[in-house]
Amino acid sequence: MSKFTKKKSGDLPAISTASLPDIVFMLLFFFMVATTMRETTLMVQNSLPTADQVEKLDKKDLVMYIYAGKPSQRYQQKYGTEARIQLNDKFADVSEVQSFIYAERDSKREELIPYLTTALKVDKETNMGLVSDIKQELRKAEALKINYTTVQGDPTANK
């Protein structure tokens, strides 16, 4: 009965790698789901300050981002080292903040507008003058919910 004859022991069977693609695909799907593509390329230096009394911003589609800080190294020749505001993909003036807010609002569904939050991603070396100018503009545009985006950490490290 050749069907039941035992195999010759001795040579190790090769390890099957057939499941390797499955494992890799699993990882791939995880990263695909977890990825949030950067919508804007940063043109300013952006090392955020640290704080420990932080709240999470839950709904990402209801957040408008305003960046501010010194222009990055490669833009410094053109724009200097004075801190500037970045809206979407370009540098902007303080007076453009209002129209930016209105444009963002128009792109959202009407019932979601009250929940919109403005996240200020400001470099920690920026002067308050610029930040308070932005805040004044936000008040004029009635975008009153704001969030100073920070990194979790010891606040005394900011000095």
């Binding site: 790698t17 057939a18 390797l20 693609p21 890799v24 695909f25 990882l27 791939l28 990263f31 695909m32 977890a34 990825t35 949030t36 593509m37 950067r38 955020l48 300050p49 640290t50 704080a51 420990d52 009394q53 932080v54 709240e55 999470k56 911003l57 839950d58 990402k60 957040v63 939050t117 996240a119 400001v122 470099d123 920690k124 070396e125 920026t126 002067n127 308050m128 003058g129 930040v131 308070s132 805040k135 004044q136 936000l138 008040r139 004029k140 009635e142 975008a143 009153l144 919910k145 704001i146 969030n147 100073y148 985006t149 920070t150 990194v151 979790q152 606040p155 005394t156 900011n158 000095k159």
Partner: protein, 203 residues
């Protein structure tokens, strides 16, 4: 009719393709840091409206100058002492009669606030102040409020204010539970309102 055996497709390179994609997504992934201090700005007032008059003792003045130095109630202070000072100011409970504070545990200093409802923290910064310092100061002041709210929430409901809020914001929390949480949060916020006023920066 004789069936022709279809040749098996070689799947050996599948792993390579998957790896390539995996590496691409690994590199492009940025786990966003969307955490921060939430604040609400006051509505815009075009005309100069007379500000309500406040008693000196109910105002806790914090001034930050262009060199990032702190001046609290007219005296210089280190950042690390600010939280304690603000907490003492809020929790002072120096009022009597209708202004008495039923839950304060402070020393009833005549120079500090009468009760947390009346207490206002005023933050003035210079245009030259660094944003990092400003955030640190904000953080300490919010921390003082949170500490007091935590204490009261713990006393009344057995869990801290921050825990209540985290549970309330958690999408997994059920509707009914949310309702009761909201009530508690509102009650605490009523007891200890966050009155943090920011003046236009000088200089």
């Amino acid at each position: 009719m004789a069936r022709r055996a279809s040749p098996e497709v070689n799947a050996g390179s599948m792993a390579d393709i998957a790896f390539l994609l995996l590496i691409f997504f690994l590199v492009t992934t940025t786990i966003e840091t969307d955490k921060g201090i939430s604040r609400k700005l006051p509505p815009w007032q075009p005309e100069d409206v007379d500000p309500p008059t406040l008693k000196m003792r109910n105002v806790f003045e914090v001034v930050v100058n262009a060199n990032n130095d702190l001046l609290v109630e007219g005296e210089e202070m280190e950042l690390k002492d600010l939280r304690k000072a603000a907490f003492d100011f809020l929790d002072n409970g120096g009022g009597s009669g209708s202004e008495a504070c039923s839950f304060c545990q402070g020393s009833a200093d005549p120079n500090l606030s009468v009760n947390p409802q009346k207490a206002v923290i005023s933050l003035v910064n210079n245009r030259g102040t660094e944003y990092g310092t400003y955030i640190a100061v904000q953080n300490e002041l919010v921390a003082a409020y949170n500490e007091l709210r935590n204490r009261e929430a713990k006393r009344l409901y057995g869990s801290t204010f921050v825990e209540l809020e985290t549970e309330y914001n958690d999408p997994k929390t059920g509707e009914g539970r949310k309702e009761s949480l909201k009530e508690k949060i509102e009650a605490i916020k009523d007891m200890i309102p966050q009155k943090l006023s920011e003046a236009e920066p000088k200089g």
